[in-house]
Symmetry: D3
Subunit: 249 residues, 6 copies
Amino acid sequence: MKILIANPNTSTGVTDRLVASARLVASAGTELIPMTAPRGVPYIATRAEAAIGSAVMLEMLAEKRGTFDAAICAAFGDPGLGGARELFDFPIVGMAEAAMLVACTLGRSFAIVSFAKALEPWFAEIVAWHGLSGRCAAIRMLDSQFTNINAVADEMEQLLVDLANKTVSDHGADVVILAGAPLAGLATKLRDRVPVPLVDGIQAAVTMAEGLVRLNPRKATVGTYRRPGPKDSTGLSKALADVIGHKDA
Amino acid sequence: MKILIANPNTSTGVTDRLVASARLVASAGTELIPMTAPRGVPYIATRAEAAIGSAVMLEMLAEKRGTFDAAICAAFGDPGLGGARELFDFPIVGMAEAAMLVACTLGRSFAIVSFAKALEPWFAEIVAWHGLSGRCAAIRMLDSQFTNINAVADEMEQLLVDLANKTVSDHGADVVILAGAPLAGLATKLRDRVPVPLVDGIQAAVTMAEGLVRLNPRKATVGTYRRPGPKDSTGLSKALADVIGHKDA
Amino acid sequence: MKILIANPNTSTGVTDRLVASARLVASAGTELIPMTAPRGVPYIATRAEAAIGSAVMLEMLAEKRGTFDAAICAAFGDPGLGGARELFDFPIVGMAEAAMLVACTLGRSFAIVSFAKALEPWFAEIVAWHGLSGRCAAIRMLDSQFTNINAVADEMEQLLVDLANKTVSDHGADVVILAGAPLAGLATKLRDRVPVPLVDGIQAAVTMAEGLVRLNPRKATVGTYRRPGPKDSTGLSKALADVIGHKDA
Amino acid sequence: MKILIANPNTSTGVTDRLVASARLVASAGTELIPMTAPRGVPYIATRAEAAIGSAVMLEMLAEKRGTFDAAICAAFGDPGLGGARELFDFPIVGMAEAAMLVACTLGRSFAIVSFAKALEPWFAEIVAWHGLSGRCAAIRMLDSQFTNINAVADEMEQLLVDLANKTVSDHGADVVILAGAPLAGLATKLRDRVPVPLVDGIQAAVTMAEGLVRLNPRKATVGTYRRPGPKDSTGLSKALADVIGHKDA
Amino acid sequence: MKILIANPNTSTGVTDRLVASARLVASAGTELIPMTAPRGVPYIATRAEAAIGSAVMLEMLAEKRGTFDAAICAAFGDPGLGGARELFDFPIVGMAEAAMLVACTLGRSFAIVSFAKALEPWFAEIVAWHGLSGRCAAIRMLDSQFTNINAVADEMEQLLVDLANKTVSDHGADVVILAGAPLAGLATKLRDRVPVPLVDGIQAAVTMAEGLVRLNPRKATVGTYRRPGPKDSTGLSKALADVIGHKDA
Amino acid sequence: MKILIANPNTSTGVTDRLVASARLVASAGTELIPMTAPRGVPYIATRAEAAIGSAVMLEMLAEKRGTFDAAICAAFGDPGLGGARELFDFPIVGMAEAAMLVACTLGRSFAIVSFAKALEPWFAEIVAWHGLSGRCAAIRMLDSQFTNINAVADEMEQLLVDLANKTVSDHGADVVILAGAPLAGLATKLRDRVPVPLVDGIQAAVTMAEGLVRLNPRKATVGTYRRPGPKDSTGLSKALADVIGHKDA
């Protein structure tokens, strides 16, 4: 099966990390199709950037539709996920969503740990949007500066281990999610340095996306994720305008 | 004082209705500055359209910044509101937000009534985002077709009265919000046909925006609405890219 | 328009502070009518005192009814607010209510800071009553003794700045409400000494009361704030007994 | 042991019903001391009346203090309960509180059924204040007129049975609380006409009050129910002023 | 009246402590019938052990049914309580349940303090199951080793006092529950060493069980605690199989 | 990889259905190992039966440990799941848990539909235990009698379709979970007769179990799912006693 990894950040280095981490857990027959945002910011970290990234995510998915079996919304705050589920009929999972749902099978509570203070409010809102605040013990970010988004996982490795351990001891987290696309792969590497399970968003997302393809759920024709009726639009990418206008048959 | 009414829908007829309704309650010295989205859809009704509208809202505010004292995010689901509060230093209120906060001073619970089924999930999510689900008795939409977004308030007047009354009798709503920019002005007109207070989003927003200008709060430099650090971007409108890149001095 | 500032505390010095602070933000055409409780305690700080103050508030409003366009329940815990909304047909806002609703437009979460430990449980209950606990990051009080309720704002200025800053750094408050009638005016004075917006309850209440007068909502005839039927009573103030007995035409 | 039944309604007929019902379950050695409100309304049914009743309840308890081992706040919405727990050192339980706590031991969810529509908002608020909304399946009131508060239990017996049964079938209530002082005694009478346990507030309160006397808990000297420091007051009943001013030794 | 104290732990020393503590508050005419689990672990401390203990509790109650008026599920996490309420028609209260319900009448919030870290997750789940998390300020356990489950109350007395005081000062607990059957009796002993009321689970349970016997509620025939229809089973104790199979007449 | 399907019901027919349904979605290399409860009831439907089944589940897992890579707790209410996560170091997922987590990726809200009224309270409690009540639109059961637990899926097919459709139209469910082991396989068969995605618990569980094996999380050594210390026990199955006593190396 083919799974699109749609990275709404413009950094191809981040896309590379995502794919490399995903490969470690993907099934033998799964092909991973990477895609990097053509516009936006190198790394989404705020609600303003997520708003922009949400629109870009819809454009990306419209552009590639028909070439894959399931898609992953590959930024931790799941930008555009709700809208994508309305517009499209393929399964799609968010990285935050998958990480949290997998974490729920490993502990009573999870912590979300990442590298930049700016991410905290956005992450808190996505946890609430998914209705999982009751399972979230803490959201904790490093407060350091980093030099390069592609190298942040290496630069801050020990600080992240320390912070993860702190969420376990201070907040009673049963599981720690190492969140944010630039940290893809780190959970595997640090497995023995934190005394509870670590979850990597892209890895969780790949296993859930594979599962969804096998479960083969139908597209809803009623309810909140039914496809909206056709609508005219102005100034959108052609692919997205076609989907919104039902000219995508 | 000058208040920007930023309508993220592309329909100028809707903008006209918003301004006309706002004028009924604005103070003598308040100038209302209308603005209509340059791209997007005529009327935002779904999460996908709201994702697009959120990005457009940020572009609109970036474009006009410096020409007003406060802004209104003039669509009921408040697209882009959180991001706008990060990027900009002027007060901004959402129409859903203002309607609900005013409703809270008039009753223990409010209902949200509008004209299109498609709006329901989006509205439910914005109520939750504002942390006000506990005050919301019901969200109820008509399930009829309309012929013209600019005329929907007139076409469906009696149906909306009936539906508003039903939320009062069946769900115990103490207040009814007539939601959605195309219904601007209707609350004033229907005041005596529903036995509880009716709230009009744009009117509520104008009074709260005026209040905020007079209260003159400082811009946060810490916390979730501090301005993010400067960031490079690709492919955004020049005005928005300048704000994001701190080139807007 | 005329706005009654009904102070349920017996201290006229507190009333003076409230009016002085309110004047800083009231519109040009707004007349503020001060009223001080004829019985009760100098400063309400506990649930027992709030119970007494609630009954006194109803007597005060009954006494002055017909002489103003809107009223402010001018103690932070909003004593008597729910009952007042049943009995009377003018708009009324609570100081706690207005402060919190305005704070909601300025940040994701607010802290409530005040000068006396005894206030904490009462304030916590009023936040919950308004359904806003989910937006409240912290309620923190000084634990010092003060010499004079009218001078407490000056005596404790620096301690309050420190405590406000602490709620920002420790609890992530996006906004700080300086709560309690004796602190009226302090938010304006301390604006630059805390890195997030400060909210003053009486100022927030005045802007919301003015807005409500302009919105001109109808009195509910059904729902939880409809007027109760006439009832006999024993031993109440004549004005209140007349309102309860529907002898107030 | 001696238990004060403090009825904050001015109707002595209601007090008589309360005592008669309480006697059915009180232990052999328990003496019930009835007390009827000297001022207020014959039957508290609204938030305004509860505000008045709360202050009266504090006066009543101050008046009789020292003559009993525990007190019952004998109106279903528990007027003045929080304040009473601050001021006094004897155990006190509310009728709503006791009914709900006992109901929690008999089912997963309880319904509250009573005779007057006006009671609903007040009852909903007291359920929330006790933190028990999650256990409350429904609050349902008759919408009929009654001729005499002392006879309402008899007049409406069959309607109340029907309504109780409806909360079981429609809302899945595991237990039904027949709420309101004028219905005291009815649960015993109707025991076999509803297929789930019925709870009578005054009976529940008597058993809990007896239990508290036997458990003999200490008065808190810290926390939200510690006694407030002494305070001057104006215009209160002498007994209550003495308690507030610590002149009650 | 006769009250069964069903201890699902296999330690008879713990049963002895429970009975001794219960005697201090039981009414003169109350006979306490002790029963110790015939299989399981000496002291239930984890969810796995509670799962085993829940099944054993049902066997114990089935075995002794008909010989008492009410039963107490005498371990703090109330193992088997929900199932017991389905199967049997006598009143039954859990020790955690009774402790928390009584605590609710003594403060706005309670803390749960006990002697073994392992108990924390189980206790947190039982608080949530009872719908009382909103009243629970903290759950705090000692992290020490103890030598003898029957002597743990004596060994750790001072540490428990210190921890109880810490929940008061750090978490604002209004009441402290000394939880766990091995601590039975300690609340009485330590009454003056913590500045808020202490609650002992078995004592609270005895007073509530006595109250329930006097209230004499009917067995539900509909709702979630109605008795399930007869069912065949394999490999269960004869007494329990008879109850499940309706062969217990 | 090898996945244990541990059915805590004693009916082998149900086990057969579970395995047949699971095979439809299991990966090529996955071996499914069926296991049926050696004692208990043919089909767990109540809290009492779930209490028994929880203990049996632990015995079953102890018995087979070492022969598989992951286990499925194969009854919809997940009996024994929490305890199993403490005792064992292999991944284990519950059928209710997996169904709900997968449903979360397909809609904003899910309904749970099953065949027997008795299941409702148990299912409601497991939804709450997983912290997912906020995502659950409704739990609805048929109220019919069935003749044979192994044939219930066929007998009631049309009634279940009708009920599923009703949860969509009346409660706005975006996804419907056909719950209960005896309904395994039905979601696949009925895919086109309900307009939203249907989820089958065992199929969801198999995909999640496979994912967990590939993610290879470590066993927690701290937190709520760390393994408890060794403990003596009396009267348990040898396998389980060995695990509890740490004699299972």
